[in-house]
C-alpha cells in the first residue's frame, strides 16, 4: 500500500524532470524525498537564521550518531531512536536555554560534545555500525526508503500547519522576545514547538545530505533569500525557490556522468553558488 503510493508519487516527481537520468526508480524516489525536504529546510532555515539557531541545528544533526548508538544499546531500529533522541535533545537545549543563566552557546556546546562522544564510544565498539557511520557523515538520499518518505510527508504536513499559525509570531519573537511576551504572545509555546519540529527536520535531513552538511541546506537558501527579499512575504517565497532549485538541481547534477559527485555535496555547492551571486547582486544594488 505505502509502496504503491510512494511509487506513484515518485513517478509524478519524475515527470517534472523529463530527463534520462530520472529513469531509474531510485532516482525518482530520491527526487520525491528531496521535494519533500526542500520546503522543510527552507522554512525552518528562515527561522534558524532569524533566531540565530544554526549551532542548535548543528548539534541536533550530530546527535545522529548517538541516536544510532542508542538503537544498538536498546536493540531498537535507528529509524526510531534517531528522531526520538533528536527530539529529546532539542527540547532539552530549549529548556536549558530558557531556564538557566548559561549562554546558549555554552549549553549547546556541552550537549553537542556529550552526544557526539557517546555516539562514537558506542558505535566504534560495534564493527557493523561503524561501517554505517559514513552514511550519516555524508548522507545518502539514493537509498531513501518508503517509511522515511512517509515520515517526511507527515512532518511536512505538521510543519506547514505550524508555519501557517506561527510564521508571524515567530518573526515577532525573533525581533524581541520580551516585547512579544509582554504583548501577550506565548513565547515559550512557540519556541518549544519550533525546537521540536526543527529537531525532526534536521534529523530527517541528515539522511539526505549527511551530518556535515545538514545545517547548510537549512541556512544557505534562507540566507540567499535574505539578501534579495525586502519583506516577509518575499523572504518566504524566495527561500522556497532557492531551496527547491538547489535540492532538485543538486540531485540532477550529481547524476550526470561528468559530475560524479554525491548528491548532498552537489546540493550544497549549488546553494552556496546561488548565495554568492545573491550577495554580489545585493551589494551592487545597495551602491
Amino acid at each position: 500500500m505505502l509502496n504503491e503510493i510512494v511509487l506513484r508519487l515518485s513517478d509524478l516527481a519524475a515527470t517534472l524532470f523529463p530527463l534520462d537520468c530520472m529513469e531509474p526508480e531510485f532516482m525518482r524516489r530520491a527526487m520525491l524525498g528531496l521535494l519533500l525536504i526542500a520546503p522543510l529546510a527552507a522554512l525552518s532555515g528562515v527561522q534558524v537564521v532569524n533566531s540565530r539557531m544554526s549551532f542548535f541545528s548543528d548539534a541536533i544533526g550530530h546527535s545522529a550518531f548517538a541516536g544510532v548508538a542508542l538503537g544498538l544499546i536498546l536493540s531498537l531500529p535507528p529509524e526510531f531512536t534517531m528522531p526520538a533522541l533528536a527530539l529529546a535533545i532539542g527540547l532539552l537545549i530549549m529548556y536549558l536555554r530558557r531556564g538557566s543563566r548559561l549562554s546558549t552557546d555554552t549549553v549547546i556546546g556541552i550537549i553537542f560534545s556529550a552526544v557526539v562522544a557517546f555516539g562514537l564510544a558506542i558505535v566504534s565498539r560495534n564493527r557493523e555500525a561503524s561501517r554505517g557511520v559514513n552514511m550519516f557523515l555524508y548522507g545518502d538520499i539514493l537509498t531513501i526508503g518508503d517509511n522515511e518518505i512517509a515520515l517526511l510527508a507527515c512532518l511536512l504536513v505538521a510543519f506547514l500547519t505550524f508555519q501557517f499559525f506561527a510564521w508571524n509570531r515567530m518573526l515577532h519573537i525573533s525581533v524581541n522576545e520580551q516585547i512579544a511576551g509582554v504583548h501577550r504572545i506565548k513565547v515559550s509555546v512557540y519556541q518549544y514547538l519550533f525546537a521540536a519540529l526543527l529537531s525532526l527536520v534536521v534529523i530527517l535531513c541528515v539522511r539526505a545530505v549527511g551530518v556535515l552538511l545538514v545545517t547548510a541546506i537549512l541556512i544557505v537558501p534562507a540566507a540567499t533569500a535574505r539578501n534579495l527579499a525586502r519583506n516577509s512575504r518575499q523572504l518566504f517565497f524566495l527561500s522556497l525557490v532557492f531551496s527547491y532549485v538547489s535540492c532538485a538541481g543538486g540531485l540532477l547534477v550529481s547524476a550526470q556522468q561528468w559530475a560524479n559527485v554525491p548528491a548532498g555535496a552537489a546540493i550544497v555547492l549549488l546553494a552556496c553558488a546561488m548565495f554568492a551571486v545573491s550577495f554580489v547582486a545585493a551589494r551592487l544594488k545597495s551602491k
Binding site: 525581533v175 525586502r230 512575504r233 523572504l235
Partner: protein
Amino acid sequence: MTIPAETAAAPADAVRFEHVGLTLGENRILDDVCARVPRGKFTAIVGPNGAGKTTLTLAVLGQIKHTGRILFPGLDEAGRRPRFGFVPQRLVFDRDIPMTVMDYLLSGLQRMPLFLGHSKRHAERIMQYLDEVECTRLADHAFGALSGGEIQRVLLAQAMLQEPDILILDEPTSGVDFKGGQICCELLRRVREKRGFTQIMISHDLATVTAHADHVICLNHTVFGEGEPRVALTHQVLSETFGLHLGLPDLHGIPQDVRECPEDCPLRAEHLHLHDHCHIDGAAHGCACGHDHAHDHGTEAGHAE
C-alpha cells in the same frame, strides 16, 4: 517603611507596590518597595544605574518573580490582568531580517500568515497609530534601516496598538537627542490624554521628569521618596537616592543668607557657589535671598544628578 497614607484611596491608583522585594543571586535588587502609581497619569521612576528600576518594571509586567505584592486596583477585583504596552530601552535586533515596519507591526496582530498578504483591517488600524506618532511615511520602509528615534516611535505605536491599561517605557529617550526626548514626552502626553492609559516611564533625566511627570518614584533598591515631582524631588531625597551626599556639603548647613556668613568663614566661597547654583527647592531649605528657586526647578534640577 510604612505604606504612605494616600494609598488608602485605592481606585485612584493603577498600580500599588506593597513591600516588593527581589534578590538575584546574592544581590538584593529590590528591598521593601512600597509605592503607588496614580491612574491615567505619568509616573516617572528615577534612580541611578543599577537601582532596580528596570527590574521593578519587569515585576509589574509579571516577567520576574518577586516577594510582596503588586496590586492593580480595580482589575484585581475583576480577576483580570491589566493589558500592557511596553517600549524597551534600546531595541537590539537583527537589522538584516527582511521586513517592513508594517510587517513587524502586523506580525504581532494578524492571524493570517504574512506570506499570504496583509489584513486590510489591521493595516488600517496600524496606519492610524503610526499617524499618531507621525510615522505613516515609514510604513513600507525596512524596519532594520530606521534610526534609533524612528524605531522608538514605531515601538510606541506598537505598544499603543495593544490598547494598554498601562504603558511602560524603559528610558525611551536614552540614545535620542534632547529635542527628540521633549517631542517624545509631548507626544506621549497628547496620546495619553486621548486614550487615557497610565504611563510608567523610567528616566534618568530629572529635567524631563520635572517638566512632564505627574508623579515620581525615587528608587535605589528601595523607595526614598514619591509624589508630585516639584514636591518630592527635594535635595535630601535626591541625595539619598543618588548617593550624592558623600561628595556635597549638607545644604541645610548653609546660612540663611550668605551675607551672614562671616568674612573669615572657610566655607564662604563654597556657600556663595552653592547659593548661586542651588535651585533645588531653595525655598524649602530656607534660602532667604528672595529669589524664586522653585521657578528654576524644572530647568536646573538635572544639575543635581
